[in-house]
Amino acid sequence: MAETLTLAKAINAGLRRSLERDSKVVLMGEDIGRLGGVFRVTDGLQKDFGEDRVIDTPLAESSIVGAAIGMAMRGYRPVVEIQFDGFVYVAFDQIVSQLAKMHARSSGQVKVPVTVRIPYGGGIGAVEHHSESPEAYFAHTAGLRVVTPSNPVDGFHLVQQAIACDDPVVFLEPKRRYWDKAEVDASAAPPLPMGSARVVRAGLALTLVAYGPMVRTCLEAAAAAESDGTSIEVVDLRSLSPLDLDTVVQSVRRTGRCVVAHEASVFLGMAAEVAAAVAQECFYELESPVLRVGGFHTPYPPSRLEGHYLPDLDRVLDTVDRALAY
């Protein structure tokens, strides 16, 4: 029974499903209860599952993650919400020193299946600290998994997979796509395992790699390029850690060219890893260098400038053109 859902509602449905299936799943965060979260992603869940399972916490992100670790040690499967990307840095120590390392620190004896949900990225005209793209920090951190849905179907399944995973997962929600809609069949099995990338559009001349909010932009760019006669393949990474390098490499071996796009600063951003790995794996196949397009190495600007900061269709196509020009 498929239903048209926004990304926000699809994640809500995924959370609901997880709460139903496993009594050890608890949600914690700021304003997630009666308010249902500032983006309404947890809407209705406290009403239906009670204040014991959907917990409004004090305003202290470090302790939100720390307490989740403690609950996980007690056998729970906490899902915590960080209200906005820019507020996760307060919890960075608990995430990096504790959550990521607990399994290794305990020689594998302690599992901390905590999911850290974070709305991330720009494009909604917000005030500062509300448009950050912190994914590289987490992807670089051994011990964490990092996934990000680009559409409602993935939102529904990935969040359940993240919660079911015995490792800690940073679950990044592209906030400017919360209102994107798609048919979601809640009875269908997940189309892919959590760690897999997916070719979301087939093409011949170049592989465009993206994730989260930039997938739609890249699909639009590919469509525009097609009308100009250029056939572009688009890969949605879905998982940043682990990176599904095979899917990317197979695509680039076919197309011979690669562009990677994201909102974060390209300097040491996720695209650096993809570019470095693809350049190595496809050394003999690449007809042009892997090019990167993304945010600049500047703090996220005031929202009136975000149109310039964020890689849009034009900047993506400009980069594609430069790659094709080699």
Binding site: E30, D31, G33, R34, L35, G36, V38, D56, T57, P58, L59, A60, S62, S63, G86, F87, Y89, V90, G125, A126, V127, E128, H129, H130, F267, F296, H297, T298, P299, P301, P302, S303, R304, L305, E306, H308, Y309, R315, D318
Partner: protein, 363 residues
């Protein structure tokens, strides 16, 4: 343990009742002229007008967001007017009333919410630091600034603002420790407006917030945050104490957020109209107005002129907001670092070249 939301059981410092009667408090005497009270009333009215106008501008799509101060005017004006030149205020994102007292043009604030800038004033010039959105981050900075004052042997103090929700952040509590250990000249001014977005005070504490100070070894006092005279008197007292080397203090201004958290918020989802109504009876402006009336300190023309002034201010904000210059695309490169940075320089050059491929009107 239930937290009283209207008037706290264990009292607070009040110098002007909701009915507009002066009451004395032996600990916090206030020596104030009629002129000063009139000036405070003017502040209250103009600050409320700025807030209302900004809210309207947001509704009209001119601002992306606005964080209303409605209901908290007295707390902010009382605190703001207790500061003297050379003092430094560290605000959150809601201290438009303090900004006003510190001489920051409200238009500059509107730029933040319009997205033309993240902070357009010079903190040193105004003694008013940048707005801080990451809850609590300003507190250790305020203590550091106060330590700087100490080093300079300056006879000034710092006042740092934060909310009831913020009181749960690690940084805020660390700053209590630092202030205490270094005996830094800093006054913590907590506007307890009963809500942190949708979370009531019980999510942050089970005892009155001013008592937090007891755990750190400096005085804490709760004041009627809707009473501008109490806010002024206690702020002055604590600031002066700090300037004289007696160290930090915590002031809890007991007040209420009459509006939504921000214009993006829908408070009907989590709180009762009747609570809001009850607090309306404790309006921070009404009681001063009624005092001025009863004491015959003003005539009708005072109010009319003030209304006019407010209207002109609003007019200026309306026009000014629409005219706020958009930043230049190159600003982000120019402002990222104080000195040249090779990565940014390269990106600036590439981006400028990229932009030059477009017709001017597309940029």
């Amino acid at each position: 343990m239930a937290i009283p939301t209207h008037a706290p059981d264990d009292g607070f410092v009040q110098l002007l009742t909701p009915e507009g009667e002066r009451v004395d408090n032996p600990d916090f005497p206030l020596d104030i002229s009629d002129d000063e009270i009139r000036a405070l009333y003017r502040d209250l009215v103009l600050v409320r007008r700025i807030d209302a106008e900004a809210t309207a501008l947001q509704r009209q799509g001119e601002l992306g967001l606005w964080a209303q101060l409605l209901g908290q005017e007295a707390a902010q004006v009382g605190a703001g007017r207790a500061l003297v030149p050379g003092d430094m205020a560290f605000p959150t994102y809601r201290e438009h009333g303090v900004a006003w007292c510190r001489g920051v043009d409200p238009l500059t604030l509107l730029g933040l919410f319009r997205g033309t800038t993240n902070g357009g004033w010079d903190p040193e010039e105004h003694g008013f630091a940048l707005y801080t959105i990451v809850i609590g981050d300003q507190c250790p900075q305020a203590v550091g600034y106060a330590m700087g004052l100490q080093h300079d042997r300056a006879e000034n103090a710092v006042m740092v603002f934060f909310g009831d929700g913020a009181s749960s952040q690690g940084d805020v509590n660390e700053s209590f420790i630092w202030a205490s250990v270094f005996n830094a000249p800093v006054v913590f001014f907590c506007q307890n407006n009963q809500w942190a977005i949708s979370e009531p005070l019980e999510r942050q504490t089970r005892i009155p917030l001013f008592q937090r100070a007891w755990g750190f070894g400096f005085p804490g006092v709760r004041i009627d945050g809707n009473d501008v005279l109490a806010c002024l008197a206690v702020s002055r007292h604590m600031l002066q104490r700090a300037r004289e080397g007696a160290g930090p203090a915590l002031i809890e201004a007991f007040t209420y957020r009459m509006g939504a958290h921000t214009t993006s918020d829908d408070p009907t989802r989590y709180r009762l109209d009747s609570d809001v109504e009850a607090w309306r009876l404790r309006d921070p402006l009404e009681r001063v107005r009624s005092y001025l009336h009863k004491q015959q300190l003003v005539d009708q023309s005072f109010f009319t002129e003030l209304d006019d002034e407010a209207e002109q201010l609003a007019e200026r904000l309306r026009a000014g907001t629409r005219a706020l210059p958009n930043p230049l695309p190159t600003d982000m490169f120019d402002q990222a670092y104080a000195e040249p940075h090779a990565v940014v320089d390269r990106q600036r050059a590439e981006f400028s070249q990229y932009l030059s491929g477009f017709a001017p009107e597309e940029v």
